[in-house]
């Protein structure tokens, strides 16, 4: 059924209509048959439309994993592209069920906005890019520089804090869209281009001569990016958190979309629990027992998703770095399914 009109009419009637009480998010989602997922309006590798017009990316895969866990169908997602200004309102108002939009987990957002962060799907940090010809080796030499960055993110605030802390002068020029930021930096409007390190790599290719630029070693902030849900619905919170955890755990156990069928019926108790062959883990969070199988089969494990969208073989060529598993030198660590 089509919902475009329902509320137009309800809107006319305003208080007159008797509405059904607000159900739990999972029931809502099951009733409508898809997950409504808030994503960015375009961030290379995280969520961007491909040439067929489908949304793809690391953030999009979180939405798909949630849908795969609930419905066994990773395509049962509808995407709402949100600007940074409207993302929290959209989640608060129930317009989206989950927000997976390169959103930094901060205390204010977690505690004050009525939201909960369900985990971290990308550890980022703010970095700086400069021209090699400038002869700068450290961010501490940047006093007096003009910095280009994007608005509506925490990056502007981080720059202000960092320069203030180190007693340096600066000028910030902030744009709505990454394309404009990079164009301005490329033209020489700014001496420094600053955004999350992932963004620095992602947008390097926009520069006229990418080889003439370098990323400075300092990372000035912690930017754990992750999916967000509304406060007060623990079941839904669990589904989103464990869908993400399942992707990370799968990589740790070496389960991939290619080999998952061969892992079935194996002897490893951890893998058996993961595949739903033992235990009632799906039931605990209100989804089918083969929830994790569906996630890995249809979306892939975290490593696969990373390689596909942002990894070294993509034009973005982002190294795993801190986003490698904890066992491989990174900090990616998911609680066990047990």
């Amino acid at each position: 059924m089509n919902k475009l009109m329902t509320t137009a009419i309800a809107g006319v009637a305003f208080g007159l209509t008797a509405f059904t009480a607000n159900a739990a998010t999972l029931d809502d989602v099951k009733a409508k048959g898809f997950v409504q997922c808030g994503i960015s309006q375009g961030l290379p590798g995280f969520s961007n439309p491909d040439s067929d017009g489908n949304w793809v990316g690391l953030d999009v895969d979180v939405c798909r994993a949630v849908a795969a866990a609930i419905f066994g169908d990773s395509e049962a997602v509808k995407y709402t592209p949100l600007s940074s200004k409207e993302r929290f309102t959209a989640l608060q108002s129930g317009e989206v069920d989950v927000l997976s939009r390169n959103t930094t987990w901060t205390m204010t957002r977690d505690a004050n906005l009525g939201l909960n962060f369900a985990g971290v799907n990308y550890y980022d940090g703010q970095g700086f890019m400069v021209r090699k010809s400038l002869g700068v080796a450290s961010t501490l030499e940047l006093s007096g520089a003009a910095v280009c960055t994007q608005t509506g993110t925490t990056t502007e605030l981080n720059i202000a804090d960092y320069f203030l802390e180190n007693g340096m002068e600066y000028e910030v020029v902030a744009f709505e869209k990454a394309a404009e930021v990079v164009a301005a930096y490329d033209a020489g409007r700014c001496d420094v281009y600053s955004t999350d390190a992932s963004g620095l790599y992602a947008n390097r290719l926009r520069l006229t001569n990418p080889d003439e630029h370098m990323v400075l070693p300092e990372i000035i902030s912690k930017e754990p990016l992750g999916p967000v849900v509304r406060q007060g619905d623990d079941q839904w919170f669990n589904i989103v958190r464990w869908s993400l955890n399942a992707m990370i755990n799968a990589e740790e156990m070496g389960i991939t979309s290619a080999n998952i069928d061969s892992k079935m019926g194996g002897k490893n108790p951890g893998v058996q629990r993961f595949l739903g062959e033992t235990g009632t883990f799906g039931e605990m969070i209100g989804v089918p027992s083969d929830w994790a199988v569906n996630i890995v089969k249809q979306v892939g494990n975290y490593g696969e998703s990373f390689d596909k969208h942002v990894g070294p073989d993509t034009p973005l060529a982002i190294a795993r770095g801190v986003n490698a598993l904890w066992s491989k030198g990174g900090i990616l660590y998911a609680a066990p399914i047990r």
Binding site: V172, A174, K177, E180
Partner: protein, 392 residues
């Protein structure tokens, strides 16, 4: 049927236009009250259930939000309210400058389009048609790239007389500060302006009475320059000039006008000038040629013909659409957010992003735009009624 008398009085009431009007207005008013009542109660309930606090307390918190182009001193530890004030002043600044430039450009291109030189009129036509038919947002973005391409890099700054500099980081101009004499200096300018206006009114009255003319404009300007100068000399010339000089990354000292401002200002002025040009053309064409001939035959010199005969009549046609163009320009300045000029909308957006107080910030933004619009249209309406042709 009921008794004729009864029905007669009821009919009288029903068909009385006054009572009818009252009846429909009351119904409309009641519906409206109900509408507002229900959306307000709904909003309050919604906000409560979503745990979103309402209130303007967040305005006092430190913003932490850096702004590159500002007219008043502002640092990141200043309050959110001050950040919004910075944005508001930026909006007013670009709007006022844009309005002036757009009017001048519009006048030039409007006259050019009427030129007898076909190449000139063709250029004006292309200018007007192209600019009117492309969305302003696209123009701002393209023009910004254009501005960045045109200005030289910081290390090859263009300099003029060694005190004005232009490079991709902006145009730097020297600033003058008056130290202790600042307040008296500003007051003297205001006083001089008041004297100018008074002088003009007086001279006009005198001319109407006696026919004698008085060079009010020339003397007015002399006062405008002389009075502040006198104040400065009297207070011992405390003038300090800050001249920009080339630092490691960019120019230091003086005042730098950012390329974002330049691009926005140019885009707004050029876009609006295309509309104003059409307005001006229509205005000039509306004055019949007979007026010029009649004025010539009275022996009025050319500039008096223009000032006293043509322009006053053209203005009657021009002013109303011009007002809405001015308002459009002001409102369109909210597109600044696309190219990183911190105007009212952008600064409120910055605060919104940090605090999440959508309701309050939308209200603040709308109120300021509305105030500015209403003030502008009040002024223009007043001016319009002043120059209106008095009909019998």
């Amino acid at each position: 049927m009921s008794s004729p008398q009864n029905s007669f009085s009821l009919r009288k009431i029903v068909y009385d236009p006054k009572i009818r009007g009252l009846f429909f207005q009351t119904i409309l008013f009641a519906l409206l009250l109900y509408f507002f009542y229900s959306i307000i109660t709904n909003t309050v309930e919604n906000l409560q259930s979503r745990g979103i606090p309402i209130g303007f307390g967040f305005l006092d918190n430190a913003s932490g939000f850096p702004v590159s182009f500002k007219l008043i001193s502002y640092i990141t530890s200043d309050s959110n309210a001050k950040l919004i004030l910075v944005g508001l002043l930026n909006t007013l600044f670009v709007a006022v400058l844009g309005i002036i430039t757009a009017t001048i450009l519009g006048l030039i291109f409007g006259v050019m389009r009427l030129s007898k030189n076909s190449i000139i009129s063709a250029i004006a036509t292309v200018y007007i048609e192209v600019l009117r038919n492309i969305p302003l947002l696209v123009q701002i973005l393209l023009l910004y790239y254009g501005v960045l391409k045109t200005l030289p890099l910081a290390k090859d700054s263009l300099s003029f007389l060694g005190i004005f500099f232009a490079n991709i980081k902006g145009i730097s101009v020297p600033t003058i500060s008056f130290g202790s004499a600042e307040t008296p200096f500003i007051i003297s300018i205001i006083v001089a302006l008041i004297i100018m206006v008074a002088l003009r009114l007086w001279s006009r009255k005198r001319q109407e009475k006696t026919g004698q003319q008085f060079p009010a404009t020339k003397i007015g300007f002399a006062i405008l320059i002389g009075l502040p100068l006198l104040i400065l000399i009297a207070s011992g010339w405390p003038v300090e000039v800050s001249i920009p000089e080339l630092g490691r990354f960019s120019l230091k000292g003086g005042m730098t006008i950012s390329p974002e401002f330049i691009a926005l200002y140019l885009a707004l002025s050029i876009y609006t000038s295309a509309f104003i040009a059409e307005t001006v053309r229509a205005g000039i064409m509306s004055v019949s040629h007979g007026q010029t001939e009649a004025s010539d035959s009275l022996g009025l010199p050319r500039n008096k013909t223009l000032n006293l005969i043509i322009i006053p009549q053209a203005l009657r046609v021009i002013i109303p659409p011009l007002t809405s163009q001015y308002l459009n320009l002001t409102k369109n300045s909210s597109l600044a957010v696309a190219i990183g000029y911190t105007d009212l909308f952008a600064s409120a957006g910055g605060v919104l992003n940090i605090t999440g107080q959508a309701l309050e910030l939308i209200a603040i933004t709308m109120t300021f735009y509305l105030l500015f619009s209403l003030l502008t249209s009040m002024f223009m309406n007043w001016y319009n009624s002043r120059i209106k042709l008095v009909e019998r």
